[in-house]
Amino acid sequence: MARKNKPEVKEISYAKWGYLFIAPFFIAFVVFQLVPLAQTVYYSFFEYYRSGLTVIGPTPVGLDNYKELFNSDFLKYFGNTVILWLAGFIPQIVVSLLLAAWFTDVRLKIKGKQFFKVVIYMPNLIMASAFAMLFFALFSNNGPVNATLVSLGILDHPFRFLSSVAGTRGLVALMNFLMWFGNTTILLMAAVMGISPSLFEAAELDGCSPRQTFFRVTLPMIRPILVYVLITSMIGGLQMFDVPQILTNGKGSPDRTVTTLIMYLNNHLFSKNYGMAGAVSVVLFVICAILCLLVYFNLNPTENDRKIKKRDRFKPRKEALNG
């Protein structure tokens, strides 16, 4: 800071305490995330892996890793990740909105709300790996689910869930849905309850049916929370690993249609291929950055308040005035 010429005015500045309090956070971040990130980017330009007991030393290869990455199935895995995320996310949002609307609709007087809230939130606490393992055991070819379906006559022979693309993807989506819809419902309920009741009464007076009230009043009012849920879920979706990894034991079978980005990264990390792992990480980093900036800017309501959309503007037509 430039030395001010007049004598140092002795006023108590707490600024140094501000720095002190945020220091641990930033130090831990630099040591455990920033430096590793820098290394990841650095090694992504090297051929550096361990084959058996011999380490093939870091030799610079420029963009080879990235070239190899793009003629590999990276885009397919990105597609898988997005499909698996959306297949779980869309039902999650729909059901959560439905439940939030019902739970907060004073007309419906649903009893046992607290019980339902406790039950639907429970899957969120379960270890993803345990959930996946449980589903693997339950949905295996002669597992309990098949046995039940066959004994109930719904199926004549066991359906091979884990051998069919739709089956495996469906299971991953179902698990993600079950694990997260409780959390989202409670969040949305809190947001809806945050709206002042007189707004709903005003809407009712204005002639809104329950459905119209939901879409024209409730939904716009809880938009900030919806944006928050969308972003956090998208980040979670991109990081999806535990469930598909354990359900298919890392193979992403059948036909690698369930291999997600992080599983692909994990395969390289597991076989100590730091070069490729670095490349995958960097591309993933870029994708995350783009998606988040995209979502953050155009969906965040506070940003676009000023530019009122065209059709809302009031057009005073002179001839209509008859006083």
């Binding site: 199935d73 051998s163 076989s271 291929n273």
Partner: protein
């Protein structure tokens, strides 16, 4: 203000670190609690050798309740480190330990580790394993062992780097009850007649299907007989992978069997594959090598260990050689370079793999095909028969077959390659993908697991 502030900042960092360290000091966990005596670390991927060691090694004093350690008479504590094989997990963890073998403390050093045929060459060609010749009195004791068991663990210039207590000729284990019902007899010679070659095997499979049975359980059951008779190893120069024509024959046959409903569409080691070896399973036979009889078949056929034919498939199995001679796996003991208990390792090796009296007990009680020609000849002559196999003396059947076995086709990468081949082809058999996609998937997974392999060649 500037200087003071930096001091405070570093203080905060140190504080955070110390706070973190001391807080989870407990997390470090203490080393294996052994008394004053030395510690012997043995790495393996299952408890097969551990059970035989605990039962038959004379020096064993007592076994820990949770089975994690065994204490010997002279106080040495044997620490069993078990890591599953699948997905190269065992190899990765073992490599990690071997790489910092020098820096590791005496008691943490890897003393002995087991290897399977599929990746034996990876370790025998490296200097992480000691020459058996350097271990006192072990090499000459192995004169009576089958040639192939030494060949597969010899390095480029012929030094033997490992020993095994068993040979694993492959055979076909079949259900006596189903054989009687469909083929009219369960006599091993007659059944061998019906499966003498792959054409006869297919005919019998059709008979089985007509009678409402499956010939085989899974896709991978017939892999080993084909793979074992490949012309050359998968990888020889460390860069290119040549898929043998034999493998593609296996693929074609299995696809054909699946479409015709000869097999029950299971995968190796999956729980329905295990169930197919149970009492009320519809599967006629399963290609199995000798260690599989004790390790897998007995466990699956008689899960509750009743040993009673009424409640389980105990005694309902018999074996014959099958269409081709083949072998699978087997476990070799190797001494890790830099071990601090070399002579104890040597003693374990000699006793467990060459002492005729121990080998005889292993053979009779565990049903292993032990790696000693003399013991096998003696068993072939007067062994009264294996109770699990309904009294059949399978040694007589296999003693000459074992002479002709060979594992020259083994390469250091086989564990990963075979696993990825089976996984890729499973989608093809299920009909989820066509053959070319399955091949492409195989190549992709090889690129991930073995970056050094650049090209994969398929036979014309």
């Amino acid at each position: 203000m500037k200087k003071g502030f930096k001091a405070v900042l570093s203080l905060a960092l140190a504080g955070a670190m110390i706070f973190g360290m001391t807080a989870c000091g407990g997390g470090g966990g203490e080393e294996a609690s052994g008394e004053a005596g030395k510690v012997l670390n043995i790495w393996c991927w299952n408890d097969e050798f551990q059970t035989r060691f605990n039962d038959y090694y004379p020096e064993v004093k007592e076994v820990a309740e949770d089975g994690s350690t065994t204490t010997l008479n002279d106080g040495t504590v044997v620490n069993w480190i078990i890591e599953p094989n699948e997905g190269n997990n065992y190899q990765n963890k073992l490599d990690e330990a071997l790489l910092n073998q020098e820096s590791a403390a005496a008691d943490d050093k890897v003393d002995m580790f087991l290897v399977e045929a599929d990746y034996a060459r990876k370790y025998t060609n490296s200097d992480s394993t000691m020459n058996i010749a350097d271990l006192p009195g072990v090499l000459d004791a192995t004169s009576d062992q089958y040639e192939y068991t030494k060949e597969v663990v010899s390095d480029a210039d012929g030094n033997v780097k490992g020993v095994s207590w068993q040979a694993c000729p492959g055979l076909i284990a079949y259900r006596r009850s189903i054989a009687k019902e469909v083929l009219g007899t369960d006599d091993p010679a007659a059944v061998q007649e019906a499966v003498a070659d792959w054409d006869k095997f297919a005919e019998t499979a059709q008979k089985m299907k007509d009678a409402g049975y499956f010939m085989l359980s899974g896709y991978d059951d017939t892999f080993r007989p084909f793979y074992n008779n490949d012309a050359a190893p998968f990888v020889e120069d460390g860069k290119t992978l040549n898929v043998d024509k034999n493998i593609m024959d296996w693929v074609a046959m299995t696809k054909d069997y699946t479409d015709k409903g000869y097999n029950n569409k299971t995968s190796l080691w999956s729980d329905d594959w295990n169930a197919d070896q149970g009492k009320d399973s519809k599967v006629f036979c399963i290609p199995a090598c000798t260690w599989e009889i004790d390790f897998t078949l007995t466990g699956n056929a008689d899960p509750d260990g009743t040993k009673d034919p009424a409640q389980s498939a105990w005694g309902d199995y018999a074996v014959c050689v099958g269409p081709v001679n083949w072998c699978w796996g087997g476990t070799w003991l190797t001494a890790a370079t830099g071990t601090d208990n070399a002579d104890l390792v040597a003693d374990i090796m000699t006793k467990m793999t060459t002492d005729p009296e121990i080998l005889n007990k292993i053979a009779t009680e565990k049903g292993d095909f032990v790696n000693s020609k003399s013991v096998i000849k003696d068993l072939a002559a007067n062994y009264e028969g294996n109770d699990f196999l309904g009294g059949q003396n399978h040694y007589a059947l296999l003693s000459d077959a074992a002479e002709g076995l060979s594992l020259k086709i083994a390469s250091p990468y086989d564990q990963g390659i075979i696993e990825k081949m089976q996984a890729a082809m499973k989608d093809y058999y299920d009909g989820t993908v066509d053959l070319d996609t399955a091949k492409a998937n195989f190549e992709k997974s090889i690129k991930e697991i073995y970056p050094e392999i650049e090209t994969v060649n398929w036979p014309k």
